[in-house]
């Protein structure tokens, strides 16, 4: 039963991240609170982490995707330990927005970020994040502070007060669930520099990493994917997201964002050739990535140009290997751009797959025809069929 022993309790390999993780069993797929039947997973009760909340249905720990409308459609949010795959729209205009909302939500909540891209330097991506919107309550307090102080110092005091509005309320000793889950962002403004600098983030820019000689394990993935997997595994292990360093400071979530996965810039040829030599590289990568996520407190967003993938079978396999799949279809350049039915919207959103985690059923939304629009500030998602009933001159 040697193989079984290695699977169940990774004995004999000291200092490995996965060994300690399996002993601690920090997956978030634990029911909150003590279980009735005896279990040997006596893991620590999950302390409230900023920016997370338990799912109503099964106690699963959820994080916000950065778009409260999308959170609602996904049944409350993105479950920790899962992958959100965004199928990019044709000209890659709106999917970077969703990507940035996810990262911005991480900064506002104080989560650690890991940004991987083959096209853009992660530092530049972070500079372009949208600014969080102040809500009315914060605005009132902000105005009050201005009136209470004399003018010469008021400038400095305003800055401090304003900063405190935006930082997550982690310093409070009260229950963390009082802080908001899901924030709204202003797409026309940039995230303040102080917030970005105060956050903890790691960047993986492929052209830089591919030249350095990291220890490469023999594996049949393309070198870009192998390096990225090792990078992610390093961060998870060193910063203790898999529970391997119990004496570290309070627990946090790692938000991983991978942009344009599968595009030729990653060294993968599934977008160029129908039956390329590396046709299993992407699916293997996704499988191992999910294995890493399931044993750590992390959530991942991936944008993928699926409209470029030549082999339809690969798209089906990628969908089966991801947890949540959301497709974006923008109207730019299509006949729908001039169709009066769609005049208020910029594109359609398709929720292609929602996982059934720890459950037989999942929270599917009843509205299946969803459209999005990017107004001056906000990105909103609505069911679009109601516009059919709003013709002013319709006479029955």
């Amino acid at each position: 039963m040697a193989a079984v022993a290695t699977c169940d309790s990774v004995a004999g390999s000291t200092g490995s991240a996965v060994a300690t993780a399996s002993k601690r069993n920090v997956t978030s797929f634990q029911k909150r609170g003590p279980r009735a039947s005896g279990t040997n997973d006596s893991g620590p009760r999950l302390v409230s982490i900023a920016g997370t909340r338990p799912s109503v249905r099964n106690g699963q720990l959820l994080v916000s995707t950065g778009l409260p409308a999308l959170d609602q459609l996904l049944g409350g949010g993105l479950a920790v330990g899962t992958v959100l795959l965004i199928e990019e729209d044709k000209y890659n205009i709106y999917s970077p927005l969703l990507f940035k909302y996810f990262l911005a939500e991480g900064i506002v909540n104080g989560h650690t970020l890991l940004v991987a891209s083959a096209k853009e330097d992660p530092a530049n991506i972070l500079q372009e994040l949208p600014a969080p919107l102040l809500d009315d309550k914060c605005k009132k307090e902000f105005d009050e502070d201005v009136y209470n102080h004399k003018t010469p110092e008021s400038n400095i005091k305003m800055k401090i007060a304003w900063r405190y509005q935006l930082l997550p309320k982690m310093e409070q000793i009260g229950p963390v669930s009082s802080s908001r889950f899901g924030h709204y962002y202003d797409a026309s403004k940039r995230m303040p520099q102080e917030l970005i600098e105060a956050s903890n983030w790691h960047g993986f820019f492929l052209p830089e990493k591919i030249s350095s000689t990291l220890k490469v394990e023999p594996c049949s993935l393309t070198p870009g994917y192998t390096k990225l997997l090792q990078f992610i595994q390093n961060i998870i292990y060193e910063e203790g997201f898999d529970g391997s360093n119990p004496q570290k400071k309070q627990r946090n979530i790692l938000r991983i964002g991978i942009q344009n996965l599968g595009s030729p810039l990653w060294g993968d040829d599934i977008c160029c050739a129908e039956n390329g030599g590396n046709s299993h590289s992407l699916t293997k990568f996704l499988y191992v990535l999910r294995g890493l996520l399931r044993t750590s407190l992390s959530a991942c967003i991936i944008t993928m140009p699926t409209h470029l993938i030549q082999n339809k079978a690969i798209i089906a396999r990628v969908t089966n290997l991801s947890d949540i799949v959301v497709g974006l279809e923008s109207f730019i350049g299509s006949e729908r751009e001039t169709n009066p039915l769609y005049k208020d919207y910029h594109g359609l959103i398709h929720i292609r797959q929602i996982p059934r985690l720890n459950n037989l059923i999942c929270d599917e939304s009843d509205v299946k025809d969803l459209a999005f629009k990017l107004k001056r500030k906000l990105f909103t998602i609505e069911g679009w069929r109601k516009s059919l009933w709003s013709f002013p001159n319709l006479k029955i």
Partner: protein, 266 residues
Amino acid sequence: MFVELNNLLNTTPDRAEQGKLTLLCDAKTDGSFLVHHFLSFYLKANCKVCFVALIQSFSHYSIVGQKLGVSLTMARERGQLVFLEGLKSAVDVVFQAQKEPQPLQFLREANAGNLKPLFEFVREALKPVDSGEARWTYPVLLVDDLSVLLSLGMGAVAVLDFIHYCRATVCWELKGNMVVLVHDSGDAEDEENDILLNGLSHQSHLILRAEGLATGFCRDVHGQLRILWRRPSQSTAQRDQSFTYQYKIQDKSVSFFAKGMSPAVL
């Protein structure tokens, strides 16, 4: 296990047939509720179960199993359940070089190998213990799901070979049962998957096919289940029986009804 499904299949945990291969297949919907059903069914039937779970983690099955009345952790502790968690094992294999061959060793190899280490694992897990007393009734192999092996670089022929070896050992030699899940890709033109699905359909005794409704999403009817009994070894003197039911999945059970007879409609 779902009592209504047991009635439809005409079995109970006490008197289930042995030596059978059951194929679970889903098209345009999620057929994992069938896996949970068979897992709890065979655990209740006091069988020794080897579960090769390639797609989800142990706690997922454990939490659903509790809703269905079985405790996977207790089953694992007393040796009734041997659980291979594919995701965790894959991370071990890829990031650390292990000395002994792992069940998912093929992840480290550049070209498509074979599934021999996985078969060795299954054989080792289900071999009868010579302790003199028979604790478990018969062995069962459960695989969720086989299409993942194709995504990980295995060819359809390698997977069919693996199933063939397992069938020879588990079904014929040890008189146990096998249940495997394969996704039907439908119009995605996944040739390897079609080869695998067709090959398995010809070998299996019972095929349960969960399909999404042709008309799309419905709140009250989640899908349609086709049950097909086959006699692969005998001549086709008698026609294979086939039934179709529609189902709705609830929190702890699944209710089945004839087509068009959903309680929401009547």
